[in-house]
């Protein structure tokens, strides 16, 4: 989980707004005005300068362009007020559906209401909007924890595990842990896996993760078989602590984000797994959903997601990818990392992706 510098605040006021808007579900209404013409899919970005969103955009266009749909977008430049104006502007220009990457899950609600009032379906992209009226398209964070634990169990089916978890103040940590425990709980109960240490790392900081793993290795006299780190930054800190004990590569190590340095470590055999959320796939899924909603059709594979305030929201949650030594090719094929960078410094046993 990449820790974003912006904070999204969920507030009880969202409840009231959600309740007000609740009566008008956009999913029953087709984007009538535009149904005859080529659909116009509007996108409101929160901060398009960040490299990451260009990958999402490419994913969206890979669906929209072949379908003959028009893509229009606006960039809020991290300003929630500008985002509202952007949404108004996009709606005025005409939208068959609108995809919103909210800067602020609460401040964006008036924009959502405006869209709903005009019968334009709304997709909350990647970041939640606290309302029952948006379709939430994101990665499944429970699956993140589950896939991470599964890959780690494959590498270290028995023994002593250390859990390096994210900041205790972030509720997402509990969601990741829930997924991990779906896999680990039976093995812990059976006695195969013993959790010998568990530490939350303030702000997910790599240097604090390094200190924690140093202390855990000292406490257990290096009898650690797996370090289940929740993101790649902390896995980098854990790797440094393991390296100082000559244990790098012999202890299973996890992460999340698909950081390039981590992918390189996996290629070198120094890390077991990182959970990768392919932004291009997410963009494509959102675009597909937008086209379905614009045509008044149901979204395939949609489930229900409970928002921070308890609203029941339709959702499309994608399964992330566990990247291990065996499937490293997926990140190269997706253009996420050049092969040369992935395979830099790989010696000895060379993974298939580097051959």
């Amino acid at each position: 989980m990449r820790v974003s510098m912006s904070t999204t605040a969920l507030c009880s006021a969202a409840l009231a707004v959600a309740a007000l808007a609740g009566g008008l579900s956009p999913f029953a209404l087709p984007g009538a005005a535009w149904a005859q013409e080529a659909p116009r899919i509007c996108v409101s970005w929160r901060h398009f300068q960040e490299e990451r969103w260009k990958i999402d955009e490419a994913g969206m266009r890979s669906v929209l362009d072949p379908a003959g749909a028009t893509y229009v977008s606006a960039d809020a430049q991290s300003d929630p007020q500008k985002q509202l104006a952007d949404i108004e502007g996009l709606l005025t220009g005409g939208c068959s559906a609108i995809i919103i990457l909210a800067q602020d899950s609460q401040a964006v609600l008036p924009g959502l209401q405006a869209a709903v009032a005009q019968g334009v379906p709304v997709i909350a992209y990647d970041a939640p909007i606290d309302s029952a009226d948006a379709l939430f398209v994101s990665f499944d964070n429970v699956a993140v924890g589950r896939l991470m634990a599964e890959a780690m169990v494959a590498a270290a089916p028995k023994g002593n595990w250390a859990l390096i978890e994210g900041d205790a103040a972030h509720s997402i940590v509990n969601i990741f842990r829930e997924g991990q425990m779906q896999v680990l709980k039976p093995l812990i109960d059976k006695g195969d896996i013993k959790i010998v240490a568990q530490q939350n790392i303030q702000n997910w900081t790599p240097d604090l993760a390094q200190q924690a793993v140093e202390q855990i290795l000292t406490k257990e006299n290096n009898a650690i078989d797996a370090v289940l780190a929740m993101n790649d930054g902390m896995s980098t800190g854990s790797a440094a602590a393991l390296a100082a004990q000559n244990l790098l590569g012999s202890v299973a190590l996890s992460g999340q984000d698909g950081d390039r340095v981590v992918l390189n470590r996996i290629a070198k055999g120094q890390q077991t797994v990182t959970i990768w959320k392919n932004a291009s796939t997410l963009g494509a899924a959102a675009a597909q959903a937008a086209l379905s909603l614009a045509a008044g059709q149901p979204v395939e594979g949609a489930g229900t997601f409970t928002t921070g305030s308890g609203a029941q929201q339709p959702s499309l949650l994608l399964e992330p990818v566990a990247v291990t030594r065996d499937n490293l090719a997926v990140v190269v094929d997706a253009g996420w990392i050049p092969k040369a960078e992935l395979c830099a410094g790989v010696t000895g046993s060379v993974p298939a992706a580097c051959q």
């Binding site: 990449r2 820790v3 510098m5 960040e50 490299e51 990451r52 205790a168 240490a197 568990q198 530490q199 939350n200 790392i201 303030q202 702000n203 997910w204 900081t205 790599p206 240097d207 390094q210 200190q211 924690a212 140093e214 202390q215 855990i216 000292t218 406490k219 290096n222 790649d232 930054g233 980098t236 800190g237 790797a239 440094a240 390296a243 100082a244 004990q245 000559n246 244990l247 950081d259 390039r260 340095v261 981590v262 390189n264 410094g345």
Partner: protein
């Protein structure tokens, strides 16, 4: 004789050492002998370096009635920038890469410190505001310059400055340094005595000097013995003193001399004690403030070298909230937030004290929110005790 002892020993430091010793013994008992193992003390000495290096600078900043909230962010920023120097501008593992990166990080840190110092001194913006801005600016700049992507691995020579498997000097060199340090202690005591005689000051009773010298030497020997007792994992080769710990020791000695023996140091304390009097005495106080912040920046750059070398990565989130640990170390070490009072060695002991508690609590498996709560309580308690001692008129 009792009066002689009081004059010879810094009571506050002695009390701190005593409390630290008690905490160590307590943690050792609770952890079944793990805390005072060579391995854990080796860890502890490495873990304290980053906060310790910056705390020596923070003492002068606080003594001069300023504050620097930006050090954690500047460290994170310089860590990423220094990693980029090694990977994007120079060949990793090139013959000159390590020292060019080192020089760039020191110079960059000093420049950013000087910039903030100039805003405080010449633009008359309060240091709290300037460095709060710095905290936000440089943390985000750390994300911005490489889009939040971690840079690794770093140059292998550069990595030695962070300790790690090869980053210690070995047993022979450690014992040699130990002998040199003991000789230096002895020489300085003898020189000080002969100086006192020359100027007609009656030297301290020889028994007191003998005991203090013996204690200092014993501490040095014990420290080196512990560092040598920790073996490279899976071998029988002693590690010796880690490079970053040597850096910290060098910084402490250098900063102590700077603070107590140079005009700059005296001006800092004079300004902190009474800014108006210092100004009237002809000290260029604006230039002085700028230099203090530049020095803080230089030390922050050095801390960035150690932390990124230790992590073997330039990562944007590195050192988040480190400023609070640094300030707390200085304050626990007896630096008064009212200005004018502070000791370099005290701040490093303060850092060691906090790191001991934190590392010890991880050994005990105490959860991180509880750790922070304990540390917060200790901070308040330490400042309260210090305040009481000062009021009671302890020297």
């Amino acid at each position: 004789m009792a009066a002689g002892w009081r004059a010879a020993v810094d009571t506050r430091l002695a009390v701190m050492l005593l409390i630290l010793a008690l905490v160590w013994v307590g943690l050792d008992l609770l952890t079944g002998g793990r805390f005072l193992s060579a391995r854990n003390l080796f860890n502890l000495s490495l873990q304290v370096t980053v906060t310790g290096i910056m705390a020596t600078g923070m003492v002068l900043v606080i003594v001069a009635r300023q504050i620097d909230l930006s050090v954690g962010s500047v460290m994170g920023f310089m860590g990423v920038a220094g990693a980029l120097v090694q990977t994007d501008f120079l060949p990793v593992d090139g013959p000159h890469t390590w020292w060019i990166a080192l020089a760039a990080m020191l110079a960059g840190g000093a420049a950013l410190g000087a910039l903030q110092g100039a805003l405080v001194a010449y633009a008359a913006i309060p240091a709290f505001v300037v460095t709060l801005g710095g905290l936000l600016f440089f943390r985000n700049a750390a994300y911005f310059i490489n889009k939040g992507e971690t840079i690794a691995p770093l140059d292998s020579t550069f990595q030695l400055m962070g300790g790690g498997l090869r980053g210690a000097i070995g047993t022979t060199a450690s014992w040699t340094l130990c002998a040199l340090a003991c000789a230096a202690v002895l020489a300085s005591v003898l020189m000080s005595r002969s100086r006192q005689e020359r100027f007609g000051v009656r030297p301290r009773p020889i028994a007191i000097d003998a005991v203090l010298t013996a204690a200092a030497m014993a501490a040095i020997v014990a420290f080196v013995a512990v560092m040598n007792a920790y073996k490279q994992p899976g071998t029988d080769i002693g590690m010796g003193i880690p490079v970053p710990v040597l850096i910290l020791i060098g910084v402490v000695i250098g900063m102590s001399i700077l603070a107590r023996r140079t005009a700059f140091g005296r001006h800092v304390f004079a300004y902190g004690g009474n800014p108006e009097a210092a100004r009237l005495a002809g000290i260029d106080v604006r230039w002085l403030i700028l230099k203090i912040f530049a020095l803080m920046g230089l030390l922050t750059g050095l801390a960035a070298v150690v932390i990124s070398a230790r992590l073997n990565a330039g990562a944007s989130a590195t050192g988040t909230m480190a400023e609070l640990n640094v300030i707390a170390a200085a304050v626990i070490g007896g630096t008064s937030l009212a200005g004018g009072v502070g000791r370099i060695v005290g701040a490093v002991l303060g850092a060691l004290f906090m790191q001991s508690l934190e590392s010890g609590m991880i050994l005990l498996g105490i959860s991180s929110p509880l750790q922070k709560m304990v540390l917060a309580g200790v901070l308040i308690l330490a400042v309260w005790a210090d305040h009481r001692a000062r009021k009671a008129g302890a020297p």
